[in-house]
């Protein structure tokens, strides 16, 4: 092995934790492993404690699985009248009419996916860019205050984001930004006039909300890259830009993927801020400046007052769909992480 480029292996323990796709590299525990042989004074005590500890943690871990499964089963049961009654139409039609008992969920699914996608597209370059700046370039005095300020964004309640969105952001965008998008780019994505309450506004609010998640995790990931990796790249004649790309960003890909997925997860499930700014109109349209709706919004909006069985079932089915979307995205992220990390390993061997 010529060069230790794996960020997950602290330099102290060469080969200590090979191949674990950890999110936070410092936790990989190589140090602790090295210590264990000495710190074992009594064999009897340990042989009693270990199995108990193991089973307790196993129960904890299992409880999560059982819980997730129980939620899925419960949702399925609650959604059954709708699954049976609407069938595939639920995913094909956008007409949501509680009075006529006709429920099509397409517009909500579309709104959720597109608004999260917009948030992802905006927040990813910003989040990663900020953390590169903070770890690689910013003067020391600036690092802590800036990351503190951004992390504070995560502590703001979503209803405050919603209020800010409806009273500040939406009017601002509809007067100063959207008219230009309509004039310069236009159809089919930017068609006016817009009141500011739109799919794009929702995406922008979501981007601001998930930015701290992406930023702080990717910063941790970058910080975990050993200094030696950067020095190595510089020593080989790389410019600063090349060093950042080759020695910092490239080996951090699995961790960055995790950061983005956590952010995306928050965007998909966000309710309050979205419902306040998305316009709440169940409609599938390519126009990003038009009103839309989302799964979490419609559940929060209509569940309390829904009395007909079919209405409740349709809302539950939307919940099930949201769970499905989240799981699909997580699986996709896992696959991406595996494929990039296996590529990395292949590179190391070469």
């Amino acid at each position: 092995m010529p060069l230790n480029t794996d960020p997950r292996t602290p330099p102290v323990t060469p080969g200590g934790s090979r191949g674990q796709a950890d999110l936070k590299p410092q936790q990989s525990g190589g140090l602790v492993q090295n210590k264990t042989p000495e710190s074992r004074p009594s064999r009897i005590k340990k042989s009693w404690g270990d199995p108990v500890f193991k089973s307790v943690t196993l129960i904890f871990a299992g409880a999560i699985l059982v819980l997730a499964l129980a939620i899925a089963v419960e949702l399925w049961v609650a959604a059954y009248p709708s699954i049976q009654g609407m069938g595939w139409h639920f995913f094909m039609t956008q007409k949501w009419d509680p009075v006529m008992n006709h429920f099509g969920g397409l517009s909500f699914i579309y709104g959720t996916v597109v608004s999260s996608l917009i948030a992802f597209l905006i927040a990813t370059p910003f989040g990663i860019g900020i953390s590169v700046f903070l770890t690689e370039m910013a003067p020391r005095a600036l690092r802590e205050p800036v990351s503190f300020l951004i992390e504070i964004l995560a502590a703001i309640p979503s209803v405050v984001y919603g209020l800010w969105g409806i009273f500040v952001l939406a009017p601002l965008l509809s007067v100063h930004v959207y008219p230009y998008l309509i004039r310069w780019i236009g159809k089919p994505f930017f068609v006016g006039p817009s009141t500011g309450l739109s799919l794009l506004s929702a995406g922008i609010i979501l981007a601001i909300m998930i930015l701290p998640t992406i930023m702080s995790i990717s910063r941790e990931v970058f910080l975990a890259i050993p200094r030696s990796a950067r020095e190595g790249a510089l020593a080989l004649g790389a410019t600063r830009w090349e060093t950042i790309v080759v020695a910092v960003i490239s080996p951090s890909k699995p961790g960055l993927m995790g950061a983005i997925m956590l952010g995306l997860g928050r965007a998909l499930g966000e309710t309050m801020a979205v419902t306040m700014i998305i316009g709440n109109r169940p409609e599938v349209s390519l126009n990003l400046l038009g009103p839309s709706h989302s799964i979490a919004s419609v559940i929060a909006n209509e569940f309390a007052e829904a009395t007909s069985d079919m209405h409740l079932a349709a809302l539950s089915e939307l919940g099930l769909v949201l769970m499905g979307i989240t799981i699909l995205i997580n699986i996709a992220a896992r696959v991406l992480v595996w494929s990039t990390s296996s590529k990395l390993r292949a590179l190391e061997k070469a």
Binding site: P98, M100, F167, T195, G279, N301, F303, E305, T307, H311
Partner: protein, 339 residues
């Protein structure tokens, strides 16, 4: 683990006496009635010591809890349909507790409050068939008012709500077009417009978008000084939306009031009757096997009809007309208590 056990034990010991000694009741449902109801419950608790907990989880959720038997009474802005009433093991009574009214508000700079609209035109606006404020249908009703050519943007509630139920119930009654295309309910498939969650969001939309029109609870419109529409009632007048005209609508409903009070009071006859209003009902069981609880609830309901009604106007809830209160009390008297 071992240390936690005594903690749990002492906690459960603490919780037991509270549950078994104080007489307390649980209710849930309508959010509309919550400000008034919480005033009632707190005042009633001070004078009698009876504790009534009320969760404003929404009418629909309140009805579900009542059917599941997890609460002692519910409150709803929409009457329960027969299909749901049939599901209850014990018959359920509807008792009007107060009246809600809906004001249609708009934002047109330079146009003062009091634009007149007929039911047809109002339905046309919310159906999307009338799209400009200077449409001949509107200007003909408002001679002397200088109406601009601004586009009409409709704002409506996005959350299921009793306010929407009253408003769509009214439009369904007055417009065959609305009845066939949209219908009535706590949430409907709106032909046009943007949705806002809650009165405050609808009012926010109306305030921000020039040319917007929406509907909010009357109390909300009064408290926030919103410009409102005068709507023609059955008698051909244009009453100002207010607590008095709302009470007048309830009085106008007396002649046609069914025995179970499950009726809509939109578009009622009466010179001063405001056309868009509806009851909020307490939903109680016909029979309570727990005698102490049943008696306390009956006492409270009677109190709410007498003292309670007088507290309404201060909180922007209209009083129920005296003749209706008499009928409701007769119905309260039919509640069976004990074995």
């Amino acid at each position: 683990m071992l240390k936690l056990k005594p903690l749990f034990l002492s906690l459960s010991l603490l919780a037991l006496p509270a549950a078994s000694f104080a007489l307390s009741m649980n209710g849930a449902g309508s959010t509309f009635i919550y400000p008034l109801a919480s005033k009632w419950f707190s005042d009633y608790n001070k004078s009698t010591g009876v504790e009534i907990n009320y969760q404003s989880i929404g009418s629909g959720a309140g009805i579900r809890q009542l059917l599941a038997g997890t609460i002692d009474f519910g409150a709803s802005d929409a009457p329960m349909p027969d299909s749901l009433l049939a599901k209850s093991p014990v018959p359920i009574l509807h008792l009007p507790a107060t009246i809600g009214a809906v004001a249609v508000v708009y934002n047109l700079p330079g146009v003062p409050t009091g634009m007149k609209l007929t039911p047809d035109v109002l339905a046309g606006i919310f159906l999307g068939s009338i799209t400009k404020w200077n449409d001949p249908a509107i200007t003909a009703l408002n001679p002397g008012m200088n109406l601009p050519a601004t586009d009409i943007s409709v704002a409506h509630r996005s959350d299921g709500s009793g306010t929407t139920n009253i408003f769509t119930d009214y439009l369904t009654k007055v417009s065959p077009d609305w009845a066939s295309k949209v219908g009535k309910g706590t949430a409907v498939n709106w032909p046009v417009g943007l949705g806002g969650k809650g009165n405050e969001a609808v009012a926010g939309l109306v305030k921000q978008v020039e040319g917007a029109v929406g509907y909010v609870e009357l109390a909300y419109a009064i408290k926030n000084n919103l410009t409102y529409v005068l709507i023609r009632n059955q008698a051909g007048n244009y009453p100002t939306p207010s607590l008095e005209t709302t009470s007048a609508a309830a009085a106008g409903s007396l002649k046609t009031m069914p025995a179970d009070f499950r009726t809509s009071i939109t578009n009622m006859p009466g010179k001063d009757a405001y056309p868009i209003c509806g009851f909020t009902w307490f939903l109680v069981y016909q029979k309570y096997t727990d005698a102490a609880k049943g008696k306390a609830l009956v006492d409270f309901l009677n109190w709410a009809m007498d003292e309670g009604q007088k507290m309404g106007p201060d909180l922007y809830y209209p009083e129920l007309p005296a003749s209706l209160v008499k009928k409701i009390k007769a119905s309260i008297a039919t509640i069976q208590v004990g074995q």
